[in-house]
């Protein structure tokens, strides 16, 4: 067994494989299929200060090699999470990362400071890149001064590992990565979904109730890989890579491009056991290629 231990600032993962927020529920949905303790970490579904019903159906449409979603952060709110979900998921023998959201800087800070009090949560992922909400979300992630302001404010109320999840829907993602690094982020995760749309020619209507939505799946992998590579070269903090990873080979590619850890999202829908298969596949790759440790592979791309 190769050494798979991965450090994201102070957050120590047993391996680099995490689940992407919004694709893995709170983990329990997958416990019939895998042993959750084999995962590096679980990033739970995005949490907001107040309960949210999300967007109207239809919220999802399949596209070539991917899917568009417009769920819109449906969740029962941070208090419900702390009272009803945290007690159960804090028993898992893996790192729990809470994905936090808000419509304003105050709302982000409210969620972050409440999560700061939870012993078993060692990191948050600050989601400034959700494309499916009218207020907040991606608006913070596509305007650099806003990204800076929210990162700074959350940094002030949160003292464990702060990961900022970046939007790919910008001209230069490196500028955002550097900006959040300079303002207190311990790590960046990228990419969130790409803004897209689909049309039903038969009904002459959009396929999603919100018209536009977030594209995920292997269709976006080359874009994600390019952005991870660019950001890794530009920042000193760890990069968590995601975007269309379907198997261990895809995961290795992200690590070579500079990701210290990776997140699996849409692939969970097609194969609910894929995360553990990827952990095993990464280990096999390291052994076959005589790498002692996963850290030797991070950014080892030769070009």
């Amino acid at each position: 067994m190769a050494d798979l231990i991965t450090n994201i600032s102070k957050l120590k993962l047993k391996n680099p494989v995490m689940t992407a927020s919004g694709t893995f529920g709170f983990g329990t949905e997958y416990s019939d299929f895998i042993d959750l303790s084999k995962l590096g970490g679980i990033v739970v579904k995005g949490i907001t200060p107040k309960p949210r019903q999300g967007n109207p159906y239809p919220r999802m449409v399949e596209t070539a090699s991917g899917m568009l979603n417009a769920v819109g952060l449906q969740n029962k709110g941070v208090d419900y999470f702390i009272e009803h979900i945290y007690p159960e998921i804090s028993q898992y023998n893996t790192e729990i990362v809470v994905n936090i959201n808000g419509g304003s800087i105050e709302e982000y800070c409210e969620v972050a400071s409440k999560i700061n009090n939870l012993d078993k949560v060692n990191a948050i992922e600050l989601n400034i890149s959700c494309p499916n909400v009218k207020q907040g979300g991606m608006l913070f992630g596509i305007h650099c001064p806003s990204a800076i302001a929210v990162t700074k404010a959350v940094r002030d109320v949160y003292n464990k590992t702060l990961i900022v999840k970046l939007s790919p829907n910008v001209t230069n993602i490196v500028e955002f990565a550097k900006a959040v690094e300079d303002n207190g982020a311990d790590a960046v995760s990228l990419i969130n979904t790409l803004l897209g749309m689909a049309i039903n020619s038969r009904t002459r209507r959009p396929s999603l109730s919100t018209v536009t939505g977030g594209l995920s799946g292997p269709a976006i992998k080359p874009v994600a890989l390019r952005m991870v590579w660019q950001v890794h070269k530009a920042v000193k903090i760890p990069v968590i890579g995601m975007g269309g990873i379907m198997n261990a080979t895809d995961a290795i590619e992200f690590i070579l491009a500079g990701a210290s850890a990776i997140q699996i999202g849409t692939a969970n829908f097609i194969n609910p056991a894929i995360t553990v298969e990827i952990v095993e596949g990464i280990n096999d790759y390291l052994e076959q290629n005589k790498f002692k440790s996963i850290s030797d592979l991070v950014g080892a791309l030769e070009c």
């Binding site: 919004g22 694709t23 893995f24 529920g25 949905e29 997958y30 019939d32 299929f33 579904k45 019903q53 999300g54 109207p56 159906y57 239809p58 919220r59 999802m60 449409v61 399949e62 596209t63 070539a64 090699s65 991917g66 899917m67 979603n69 769920v71 449906q74 799946g217 292997p218 969970n268 829908f269 097609i270 194969n271 609910p272 056991a273």
Partner: protein
């Protein structure tokens, strides 16, 4: 009930007409208990256009043969791909998924199906007979006679009424127009229905007016089928948006915010 990922072998692929086919699949393991109304998520290989799994209702189960059958309508690239499977090929599924039709409180039951919506009703009918010794009746609607499928299987279970849109078999019209629904002497205590949404809404409206309990099987678009992605939601009176894949696919119509 534990959900499984399993690779089954195609034993038979029977083409019923230009739109429908039945896949008979066999597991090399003992099947888990599967309840009427539950579905499987089928993986379709070989095309970037069939990226997500397809949710398909269970049509029949044979525990002794470790086999299940799926009645499928060719509706797009995924189902067309499945229609080409030949015996000996493999199919990866996740199952059993979703809730099930509830236990009836009475024995005067009408199972109303339209198109491929008849699939879970066959399984339900068999189950009602075997489990509760109830003989249900069926009311099945099709566009035309050539699309009416395997009627003998339904007739074996209980009296089966048919409607076709063109009148080529049974009563002409939609299921909702069939005379048994307007027969004062006929007592119906519960309706189970599956089919196109517009049909189910008409049935729900009928049941509502007559004060008959009605359960519907929804076919919302699904991402995962296991309650993780929150894509397949339906708006409910008590709990707002809930997952069709885990809280459903079977709902009592009184739970739904349908305008009926």
């Amino acid at each position: 009930m534990k959900k499984l990922i399993d690779t089954l072998q195609v034993i038979d692929n029977k083409r019923l007409n230009k739109e429908f086919f039945v896949l008979l699949l066999q597991s090399d393991k003992q099947l888990p208990e599967i309840l009427p109304g539950q579905f499987v998520q089928v993986k379709v290989e070989g095309s970037p256009r069939t990226f997500l799994r397809r949710p398909i209702s269970v049509y029949d189960v044979d525990y002794s043969q470790q086999s299940i059958s799926l009645l499928i309508k060719i509706a797009g690239d995924g189902t067309r791909q499945l229609s080409k499977l030949i015996p000996g090929e493999k199919l990866n599924i996740i199952y059993p998924l979703g809730n099930s039709f509830s236990k009836p409180s009475d024995n005067r039951l009408l199972l109303i199906g339209g198109g491929t919506g008849v699939a879970p009703l066959l399984f339900l009918g068999k189950y009602l007979r075997k489990q509760y010794n109830i003989v249900p009746e069926f009311l099945l609607g099709y566009r035309s006679k050539d699309l009416a499928i395997e009627l003998e299987k339904f007739e074996e279970i209980g009296k089966t009424y048919i409607t076709t849109e063109d009148g080529s078999l049974g009563h002409k019209g939609f299921v909702i127009h069939h005379p048994i629904l307007f027969d004062e002497k006929k007592e119906i205590n519960m309706i189970y229905t599956c089919g196109p949404e517009v049909m189910m809404k008409e049935v729900a409206k009928y049941a509502n007016n007559k004060n008959i309990a009605c359960e519907v099987s929804l076919e919302n678009l699904m991402g995962c089928g296991i309650g993780a992605c929150l894509c397949c939601v339906v708006d409910t009176i008590d709990n707002g948006n809930v997952n069709t894949c885990t809280e459903g696919p079977i709902f009592n119509t009184k739970q739904l915010k349908w305008q009926i």
